[in-house]
Amino acid sequence: MDPSISPTQTSRRSSLYRRHSQLGAEFHRFGEAIAVHHYASDEATQAQSLGLADLSTLPRVGFKGAGTPAWAEQCGVHLPHQPNWASEQPDGTLVARLSSSELLMIGDYSGHSPLIDRLAAADRPERVYPLPRADSHSWLALCGSHAADTLAKVCAVDLRPQHFENGQIAQTSLAKINAIILRSDIGNLTNYAIFSDSSSVEYLWDSLLDAMAEHRGSPVGLEALANNR
């Protein structure tokens, strides 16, 4: 973390960077990307209660097509056995199976994913098509003991931890826009990764913060999530 880094100094920044700057964020740089390190001094406690983080600049990629599952397994990916579940790989990358022939791969909070780098550079056989999920979709993380209560205000699917297991995925409507919701707990911290159209992220960010206000939720940076691992 370097307090002197500004989002406009890097080529890859979130659409929300102006909001982050207004909130007094300090940023962390990894390669050509930048993400919020923290806003306030003690965000670990806030994350335990209710926090929202913008992870849109972290690595992720998608692949789809009839040849995708076999190709991914050849490349050493441990696939979830059924759609709408995710499994963690040895390097920390999460592989989400969105249908029988579509995968979404999500890096961990370090900003590096050896598996994603390897698959993005690998030769692909016929009927395997890459999807630029890092560009098409934003990535927000809603965490804490009140996260499910917040989601219940804007989503019709029951996402409470007792009904929606860690690793489970719901592709549904969230605050009236399409979203992929993946429960990916961080240690004991309940956490929902939310992927939606990147062009709608400012609306979704504001809507979630509005829904969080009742439970005294606020934005948190990467540091708060990493400290809970």
Partner: protein, 101 residues
């Protein structure tokens, strides 16, 4: 709100779905007449009774088929379209002079 059961995602509010029209078996593209193609693309049977329809779950862009009774609006079942489309159909490049214009 009405609930429709997506074969991939399970029960969801009807507002998450888009109607895609009646399902008709695709004519054999190698020897279908212009009339057959026109009927396939543009004409609907508009049956009063059980019909098979295309539906799309918007959040996952997933197309599937549903059997619905248009008189009672009861959905009898929904199923993955690979039960109907279970082999790849390749369309060869058109080579007639008319098609090149």
């Amino acid at each position: 709100m009405k609930i429709l059961t997506c074969p991939l995602n399970g029960p969801r509010n009807m507002s998450e779905f888009t109607y895609g029209g009646e399902y008709h078996p695709t004519p054999d593209h190698a020897d279908a007449s212009a009339r057959e193609w026109a009927e396939h693309v543009f004409f609907h049977h508009n049956t009063a009774g059980v019909v098979t329809e295309w539906w799309c779950h918007n959040a996952s862009s997933y197309w599937f088929l549903a059997e619905r009774n248009t008189l009672t609006d009861e959905v009898l079942r929904t199923f993955d379209c690979d039960q109907v489309y279970n082999q790849r159909i390749d369309f060869p490049a058109v080579t007639t002079p008319e098609a090149r214009k």
